[in-house]
C-alpha cells in the first residue's frame, strides 16, 4: 500500500460534501482563534510569572488539531498531545479551566497535580497525555479494542509527533491495531522538528506515513496548515474505522512555529523555513479561504474576533480567581476508590 498525498481543499462544495455547513466553518474559525488566543495569553501569563514550570504551544498546528477534532464524533475518544490545544478547545473544554490548569489551580482539569497541556476532560472523551512520548498510542489502541469487543461504532484517535515515532510504543500500538483492524486513527503531527532534532535524524523514510504500510493499513500525507483538508481526511479515516475498515495513519505536515518550549529560541531552525511557513499560517489561510469561498465579511469577522476576545478575557479572570490546591489533599487521589468508577469515562 503506497502512501497517499491528500489534495488541498478548494471549494465550499467539497467541504459540504464532507459534512460541514457554514456554521461549522465559522465554528472552526472560532476554535482556531480561541486556540491561538489561549496559547498567546498563556505565553504572557508565563512571562508574568503566573505559570510555573515550562510552557509549550502548538503554534502552526492549530489547523491540524482543530481539523481532526472537528471530524470526531461525540462518542469518539482521543489522546491529544502538547501541540494539540485545538483538540481540547474543539471538544468543548472551557478556556478558563485551561488557564487554571496552566497556573496550577484547583479548577484546572488536574487540580494542580500536573501542568501545561497534561490535562483532559474525560467527560469530553479526552484522555490526558503523559510526558513520555508516544506512550498514549497504546492507550488509544486499548480504547479502540474496547469498542471492538463491545461492537460499538466508536473510534479512538491517537496522536504522536514525528520525533516520537521512533519509539517502540508507536510500533507496538500500530502493529496491534493493524493485526486486529481496530477502529483507531493515528495522527502524526509532523512539525519537522523534535525539540532540536530534524526529521532526517529521526527517521529514514520520505514520509512518516510510509510506516502505515508496515502495519497493513493506509497512510495519508496531509498539509496540516489546511484545516479543511485535515478535516476531510480525518473524517474519511474515522468513518472508515467506524465501518470496520481498520486503522489509518494520517501524517499532518506543519512547521513548529516556535521553540520546543518557551525557553527555546529555535536557533537551529533555518530562518527561511520559518518565513516560508509563516506564509502558510493555518489561521490566516483559513480566513482567506472563508473570505474567498464562504462569504466571510469584515463585519462578521470582527464580531467573531470580539466574541473570542471576550471568551478569553472572561476565562482569564475566572481562572485567576481559582484557588490554589490545598496541600492537605495531596495524598487523596493516589489510589482510586470504587466510586471513581461511576464516571462517564468508565461507562
Amino acid at each position: 500500500m503506497a502512501v497517499r498525498e491528500a489534495e488541498p481543499v478548494g471549494s465550499f462544495n467539497e467541504v459540504r460534501e464532507a459534512g460541514l455547513d457554514r456554521d461549522d466553518l465559522l465554528a472552526i474559525y472560532r476554535h482556531l482563534l480561541v486556540t491561538r488566543g489561549i496559547e498567546e495569553r498563556g505565553h504572557i501569563l508565563y512571562k508574568q510569572g503566573k505559570i510555573p514550570g515550562s510552557f509549550y504551544t502548538g503554534r502552526g498546528n492549530e489547523g491540524a488539531a482543530v481539523g481532526v477534532a472537528t471530524a470526531m464524533g461525540p462518542d469518539d475518544v482521543g489522546t491529544p498531545l502538547h501541540r494539540d490545544m485545538g483538540v481540547h478547545v474543539t471538544r468543548g473544554v472551557e478556556p478558563w479551566r485551561i488557564f487554571a490548569q496552566y497556573m496550577g489551580r484547583e479548577d484546572g482539569p488536574t487540580r494542580g497535580r500536573d501542568g501545561n497541556v497534561h490535562m483532559a476532560d474525560a467527560k469530553l472523551g479526552m484522555i490526558a497525555m503523559v510526558s513520555h512520548l508516544p506512550a498514549m498510542l497504546p492507550v488509544a489502541v486499548g480504547c479502540a479494542l474496547a469498542f471492538r469487543i463491545r461492537e460499538e461504532r466508536r473510534v479512538a484517535v491517537g496522536w504522536f509527533g514525528e520525533g516520537s515515532a521512533a519509539r517502540g510504543d508507536a510500533h507496538e500500538a500500530m502493529n496491534l491495531a493493524g493485526v486486529r483492524r481496530l477502529p483507531v486513527v493515528f495522527v502524526c503531527d509532523n512539525n519537522q522538528w523534535a525539540y532540536s532534532t530534524p526529521t532526517h535524524l529521526g527517521y529514514a523514510v520520505e514520509h512518516l506515513a510510509d510506516r502505515a504500510a508496515a502495519y497493513g493499513f493506509e497512510g495519508v500525507v496531509v498539509d496540516g496548515t489546511d484545516v479543511l483538508a485535515v478535516y476531510r481526511e480525518a473524517k474519511a479515516a474515522i468513518e472508515k474505522a467506524r465501518e470496520g475498515g481498520g486503522p489509518t495513519l494520517l501524517e499532518l505536515k506543519t512547521l513548529r512555529m516556535e521553540g520546543h518550549a518557551v525557553h527555546d529560541d529555535a536557533f537551529y531552525v533555518p530562518k527561511e523555513l520559518f518565513e516560508e511557513w509563516a506564509r502558510r499560517d493555518p489561521i490566516e489561510r483559513f480566513r482567506t479561504w472563508l473570505f474567498e469561498n464562504a462569504e466571510l465579511r469584515g463585519e462578521e469577522e470582527d464580531e467573531i474576533a470580539a466574541r473570542v476576545k471576550k471568551i478569553l478575557n472572561d476565562a482569564l479572570t475566572r481562572a485567576e480567581d481559582s484557588p490554589q490546591p490545598d496541600p492537605a489533599t495531596l495524598l487523596e487521589g493516589v489510589y482510586a476508590t470504587p466510586e471513581d468508577l461511576d464516571t462517564p469515562h468508565h461507562k
Binding site: 475518544v77 482539569p109 488536574t110 487540580r111 497535580r113 500536573d114 497534561h118 490535562m119 483532559a120 474525560a122 484522555i127 490526558a128 503523559v130 510526558s131 513520555h132 506512550a135 498514549m136 498510542l137 497504546p138 492507550v139 488509544a140 489502541v141 486499548g142 480504547c143 479502540a144 479494542l145 474496547a146 469498542f147 471492538r148 469487543i149 479512538a156 517502540g168 510504543d169 507496538e172 500500538a173 502493529n175 496491534l176 493485526v179 487521589g333 493516589v334 489510589y335 482510586a336 476508590t337 470504587p338 471513581d340 468508577l341 464516571t343 469515562h345 468508565h346 461507562k347
Partner: protein, 324 residues
C-alpha cells in the same frame, strides 16, 4: 467447596469473573488456543470467544497499554505476562501511565496484570524473578502475592474489582504443588489484609508467596528447640498490612523478614525499617532479613539452591533470633 491446586483456583476464579461480568476480558501471549504458558486459561477461548480471550502479538507495552485504554472505556482487562520477568518490557507503561493517571487527572485505571513469578525449577535469570519490590515502590500500583489456593481466587476477584492497576503475582512453584479447599462461589479476599499462617509466641516471620511454606517448614523445625514461631503471610505487598505486622511483632518481640527477591532495596527493607521505627521499644533483637543474595537468579540447580532462601537459612536466622 473442593480441593484445588493453586493454579486451578486462579483459573476457576478467572473463569467465574468472565462469566459474571461482560466487562472482563483476558489478553496476553498464547492465552487463547494454547491456554497460556501455564494453562491457566485453557479452554477459555472456546467458552468466551476470541474477542474476550485475546491472543496478542509479542508486545508487552501494547498489551498493557491496550488494557489501560480499554479500562478507561469501562472494561475490566486481565493481562497475562507469559512470565513475570517480561513485565520489565511494560515498566514504562505501568509506572508512567497506569500508576499516575488517577492522581494526575482523576481517571482510574482498573487493570489486573497476572504475573507467573518466582524460581525453584532452574528457569534461570529470566524465568524466575520476583519483581514485586520494584513495583511496590511506585505510588498508584498495588501488588498482590497470594500463597494459598483460597487466597489466590479471592484476591484475584478483589484485584478485578479494584479500581486501581493491580499486579497479581502468581508463584509458579505453587501452581501445581499446593492444594487446598477453595469455595465454589464467588468471594473477595480483601487486598491489604495479612493472614496468620501459623500462630506462635516467640519469633515472627513476615513473608509472602512461596516463602510462606519455607517459613512454615522452618517453624516446624524450631519446635524441636521449643521456640514457637508465628508466620504472617502478608498476602499483599502493596498495600501491606502494617497493623497486623506490628501486632505480631509486639507479641513476639523478635522478627524475621523473609523474601525470595534479592535483599538490597527489596521490600523487606521497607518492612524491617518500618518495624524498627514504629516498634522500636518492643523489639528484643534487631529485625533480621533473610532474602536472596544480590545477584541475578542463577540457572544451575546447585547455584539456585544457594540463591533462593532455603528452610535451613530460615532456621539459622530464627535460631539466632531466639538466642539473641
Amino acid at each position: 467447596m473442593a480441593e484445588k491446586t493453586y493454579l486451578q483456583a486462579i483459573s476457576d476464579g478467572l473463569r467465574q469473573e468472565l462469566q459474571r461480568d461482560d466487562r472482563v476480558f483476558v489478553i496476553g501471549e498464547d492465552v487463547g488456543v494454547y491456554g497460556g504458558a501455564f494453562k491457566v486459561t485453557l479452554g477459555f477461548q472456546e467458552e468466551f470467544g476470541p474477542w474476550r480471550i485475546i491472543d496478542s502479538p509479542l508486545a508487552e507495552t501494547a498489551i498493557l497499554g491496550a488494557c489501560s485504554g480499554a479500562a478507561m472505556m469501562g472494561m475490566r482487562p486481565v493481562a497475562e505476562m507469559q512470565f513475570a520477568d517480561f513485565i520489565s518490557c511494560g515498566w514504562d507503561h505501568l509506572v508512567t501511565v497506569a500508576a499516575k493517571q488517577r492522581f494526575r487527572v482523576g481517571t482510574p485505571v482498573p487493570i489486573v496484570v497476572r504475573l507467573p513469578s518466582g524460581g525453584g525449577f532452574s528457569g534461570g535469570p529470566f524465568h524466575s524473578q520476583n519483581p514485586e519490590s520494584s513495583f511496590a515502590h511506585i505510588p498508584g500500583l498495588k501488588c498482590v502475592c497470594p500463597a494459598t489456593p483460597e487466597d489466590a481466587k479471592g484476591l484475584l476477584v478483589a484485584a478485578i474489582e479494584d479500581p486501581n492497576p493491580v499486579l497479581f503475582f502468581e508463584h509458579k512453584h505453587l501452581y501445581r504443588r499446593i492444594k487446598g479447599e477453595v469455595p465454589d462461589e464467588r468471594y473477595v479476599t480483601p487486598i491489604g489484609k495479612a493472614r496468620t499462617h501459623r500462630e506462635g509466641e516467640d519469633v515472627t516471620v513476615i513473608t509472602w508467596g512461596a516463602m510462606v511454606y519455607t517459613a512454615d517448614e522452618a517453624a516446624k523445625r524450631l519446635e524441636a528447640d521449643d521456640v514457637s514461631v508465628e508466620v504472617i503471610d502478608l498476602r499483599t505487598v502493596m498495600p501491606w498490612d502494617k497493623a497486623a505486622v506490628l501486632a505480631s511483632v509486639r507479641k513476639c518481640s523478635k522478627v524475621l523478614v523473609l523474601h525470595e527477591d534479592t535483599r538490597t532495596g527489596g521490600f523487606g527493607g521497607e518492612i524491617a525499617a518500618t518495624i524498627a521505627e514504629e516498634a522500636f521499644e518492643d523489639l528484643d533483637a534487631p529485625v533480621k532479613r533473610v532474602c536472596a543474595p544480590d545477584c541475578p537468579v542463577p540457572f544451575s540447580p546447585v547455584l539456585e539452591k544457594a540463591y533462593i532462601p532455603q528452610v535451613d537459612d530460615v532456621v539459622k536466622g530464627l535460631r539466632e533470633l531466639a538466642a539473641y
